[in-house]
């Protein structure tokens, strides 16, 4: 099969600007995109740089943007992705490029993985033999641990795009592995850590990570489960993140009172009633919203029909949590 490869090229050594180069490859129908890149490097242009190690979808080294989608180059067949005879290959997004298709994972991924302290610390004295644990308890941990650290969920993440400090779905999937491992003794400490700014509360629920994971590990859902576990343990925000706690309380109190969300109240209470500087920051937004009729009046919030029933549901749920 003859295919045109359009490959992102960038070489800081020769001072040129990033650009695409075009190559023709001829490979069997079963060939992967990695086979194409290798043929280019081996036979046409030895200066092309890309990473690959296992060549079987096991190690995550070859994550690339192929025809505008984050994919593993070593398992994706050319025939499956080719469009009008062309395969376009770029580095993944939101990440500094070092050369051609080689990018810098250090700050994008590895540091973030380490920041969630995803190592198991035994709780109490260790047993003589293995821990006796039900298979069901470990099955999901094992699945989360099958993550190959390809970073494709982070490349798809809507938050990382604008906030490089968000720890991201890959690191939080790693956190999940430790949080739900029954052998770990640092449960609450880790939950507090991932509830700090940049952690679980910075997710905007776009679900992009789920769609980007080539292993179907549902990193968005795992992030939510970590957050739910933090809430269950009464860790509603980290020590550096009181705004989250206030936001959470205000949201709840508002729905409890009127049956729906009082957005004006939420904005004020999230900043904190005594936080003059924080409240002052809201003013420009309020001023812009008033002429458009979009500034909600805090606290004078009509109750919705059935508000009593909603309140009873919340009370019941809170009693059952206790």
């Amino acid at each position: 099969m003859e295919t045109t490869f359009k490959v992102y090229r960038f070489d800081p050594e020769n001072g040129s600007k990033p650009d695409f180069a075009t190559y023709q490859v001829d490979l069997p129908d079963s060939a992967t995109v990695m086979d194409g890149l290798r043929q280019i490097r081996d036979e046409q242009d030895p200066s092309l740089a890309f990473r690959a190690s296992c060549e079987r979808g096991s190690c995550g080294d070859c994550a690339l943007r192929i025809n505008k989608k984050g994919r593993l180059g070593c398992t994706l067949k050319i025939a499956k992705t080719v469009k009008n005879g062309v395969v376009t290959v770029e580095p993944i997004r939101n990440i500094p490029v070092l050369k051609d298709l080689v990018y810098d994972l250090e700050s994008f991924l590895w540091k973030k993985i380490k920041s969630v302290q995803p190592w198991i610390t035994p709780r109490g004295p260790e047993p003589d033999g293995e821990y006796v644990v039900a298979e069901e308890q470990l099955a999901e941990v094992r699945k989360a641990m099958s993550c190959i650290m390809c970073g494709l969920c982070d490349e798809g993440c809507a938050v990382i795009k604008i906030d490089k400090d968000f720890v991201g779905p890959a690191a939080l999937t790693k956190a999940y592995r430790a949080v739900f491992d029954p052998r770990d003794g640092q449960h609450d400490e880790r939950l507090t850590l991932v509830s700090e700014p940049g952690g679980v509360w910075d997710c905007t629920h776009c679900f992009e990570a789920n769609g980007h994971c080539p292993l179907g590990l549902e990193p968005t859902d795992r992030l939510f489960e970590v957050r739910d576990e933090a809430i269950r343990q009464g860790i509603r925000s980290g020590t550096q993140n009181p705004k989250v706690q206030r936001h959470y309380d205000s949201f709840l109190n508002s729905v409890k009172r009127s049956g729906w969300l009082d957005e004006g109240r939420l904005a004020i209470e999230s900043e904190g009633l005594t936080n003059v500087a924080g409240l002052a920051k809201l003013l420009p937004t309020v001023i812009r919203a008033i002429p458009k009729g979009k500034a909600p009046m805090p606290y004078f919030h009509p109750k919705r029909p059935g508000a009593q029933a909603i309140r009873r549901i919340i009370d019941k749920a809170q009693r059952s949590e206790v």
């Binding site: 030895p46 079987r56 641990m145």
Partner: protein, 540 residues
């Protein structure tokens, strides 16, 4: 110049075990690896780790099975060391978080894999190597062990008869650097890419074996090349042998089972029978059902769909034997020490003597775990007892001159690193494969020598410094040629069949003449072969 007490070269399972052991011993230790540790070949290892657990098994039984599989070439003291230590090491892995599968009582579940007489392979679905590697990496992060990633060790720094560090090339910058260390542990993994096709990752180029070989050390039992029976037809991927333990059935084109029920033959026997069955052997998972396939074969289910276009619950997966690994390596004692003071080795690059002429399925990862730990401890002890010696500048200057000379070679010969590497891998597959004979081996000797000569002339087409893959491949090819020379020399000398080494011209085992370890050292005119007796005594 970076300085450490102990430098571990290689970030696979063996290297990470060594790094942790050295750290626990209280010395300053660092890792240096040419891939990120999580991209190491260990990540692909699937089946599991062997150890005797429970009252029905014993380390002695594990040792007996290992020695039986090794066909007369296991060093008994090394086997004893591994089999005694394996259960504690695996329990330790469980305590730090490897999500081993559990049985109904919540204890370690076990598979019965090729050559084991009892179920003793602990596993984490079909991603055991990945789970162990990730868990050890977590612990290395916890211990804050410095890690130099994407650095290729290009030579050992040997001064006054001692290893004092390594010279290494950073891919990102193309710069050479000397790393000084009182002890070095080579954990550079295997050398599968000396064959094509093989199950090897890109990094498996025998680098550590070659570093040791060029420093004058012997490579032991290199003729013992193991094939894996369950390779995917087209790619490096393969199915875990756990599949057979779980009840998947190997069938021929007529759908008839190729193996007897409950038969768990050693890999060599299985490979030769599959090879003689010709094309059309397939692994049928359908009786397991979708759910079991989904939970037990996390990797294979996905890989079969993506790479072979086959859904395991609906159709059998075509398989064929693939070159898997060399069972021999750098000769070490049971602490990982080599004959060069200050140099240790563990994992797939090393030969402590446990595999002999054939390895039990599940013993390779076990050997990496046990001997990785032991090498790390021994290196730390060595470093603690050695006054630090600064490396002189000359080693770095020599390495720089060599690199400049390579860059200044002309590219007029028509050869490239790629053409030589391809010729080498196909020569090895054709003449030094599952079935060997004198004519083929002679041809292989000739080809390898010819390729060595071409390698000595080959120039590089790309002269950039950053991420110059051609330069990396140049170093790797040098290692592959060294290893190939050793494999071929040892295979030609062994005029019998034993374990994985099968010669059609000498199909029988000849205990009178064949009960020896081959040792290959680097001579001025190529590989030099000697032999050593097999140690069949127990450890002290």
């Amino acid at each position: 110049m970076p300085k450490y007490d102990v430098l571990i070269v290689g970030g696979g399972v063996a290297g990470l075990q060594a790094a942790l052991a050295a750290k626990y011993a209280g010395v300053q230790v660092a890792l240096l690896s040419k891939t990120h540790p999580l991209r190491s070949h260990s990540a692909t290892s699937s089946d599991g780790l062997n150890a005797a657990f429970g009252s029905d098994d014993s380390w002695q039984q594990h040792a007996q099975d290992t020695i039986w599989a090794g066909a007369g070439l296991c060093d008994h003291a090394a086997v004893e060391e591994m089999c005694r230590a394996a259960s504690d090491d695996i329990i330790r892995l469980d305590h730090v978080g490897v999500p081993f599968n559990r049985n109904a009582e919540g204890k370690l579940d076990r598979w019965t894999l090729g050559g084991n007489t009892l179920p003793r392979t602990a596993f984490s679905a079909d991603m055991t190597g990945h789970a162990v590697l990730n868990t050890l990496h977590e612990q290395c992060m916890r211990e804050d062990i410095p890690s130099h990633e994407e650095w290729l060790a290009t030579s050992l720094a040997v001064e006054d008869g001692c290893c004092r560090g390594v010279l290494a090339l950073e891919f990102g910058t193309g710069n050479l650097e000397a790393f000084s260390a009182s002890a070095v542990v080579l954990a550079t993994g295997g050398t599968g890419r000396v064959y094509a096709p093989s199950t090897a990752s890109q990094s498996c180029c025998g680098d550590g074996m070659s570093l040791a070989y060029r420093a004058g050390l012997s490579l032991r039992d290199m003729e013992m090349v193991q094939y894996h029976p369950l390779g995917f037809c087209e790619r490096a991927a393969f199915a875990s042998e756990g599949a057979l333990g779980e009840g998947a059935v190997l069938c021929n084109t007529d759908g008839q089972p190729v193996l007897q029920a409950n038969d768990q033959p050693l890999r060599d026997a299985l490979c030769r029978s599959l090879a003689s069955a010709g094309d059309g052997v397939a692994l049928d998972f359908r009786s397991l059902g979708k759910e079991r396939i989904g939970t037990r074969f996390l990797y294979l289910g996905r890989a079969a769909t993506e790479m072979a276009g086959i859904s395991l619950d609906t159709a059998p997966l075509p398989v064929m034997p693939r070159m898997h690994r060399v069972l021999g390596g750098i000769r070490t004692d049971t602490s990982g020490a080599t004959a060069l003071s200050g140099l240790f080795a563990a994992g797939e690059c090393a030969s402590p003597g446990v595999h002999g002429a054939n390895a039990l399925t599940g013993n390779a990862l076990t050997a990496s775990v046990v001997f990785g730990r032991r090498a790390g401890s021994a290196a730390a002890a060595h470093a603690s007892n050695t006054a630090p010696q600064a490396l002189t500048d000359s080693a770095l200057q020599d390495a720089q001159r060599t690199l400049e000379a390579v860059f200044s070679r002309p590219t007029t010969s028509g050869d490239t690193v790629v053409t030589i590497q391809r010729a080498l891998a196909s020569t090895m597959a054709e003449h030094v494969g599952l079935v060997r004979d004198e004519a083929g081996l002679r041809e292989a000797v000739r080809c390898v020598a010819d390729l060595q000569a071409r390698y000595a002339q080959v120039g590089l087409r790309h002269h950039g410094k950053m991420y110059n893959h051609e330069l990396l491949s140049f170093y790797e090819l040098g290692a592959l040629l060294d290893v190939a020379g050793a494999i071929v020399a040892a295979a030609q000398e062994r005029k019998e069949s034993r374990g994985v080494h099968y010669r059609s011209d000498f199909p029988a085992t000849n205990d009178a003449e064949g009960s020896y370890h081959s040792l290959v050292t680097c001579g001025p005119d190529g590989p030099v072969l000697t032999t050593s007796p097999v140690n069949t005594g127990q450890s002290a």
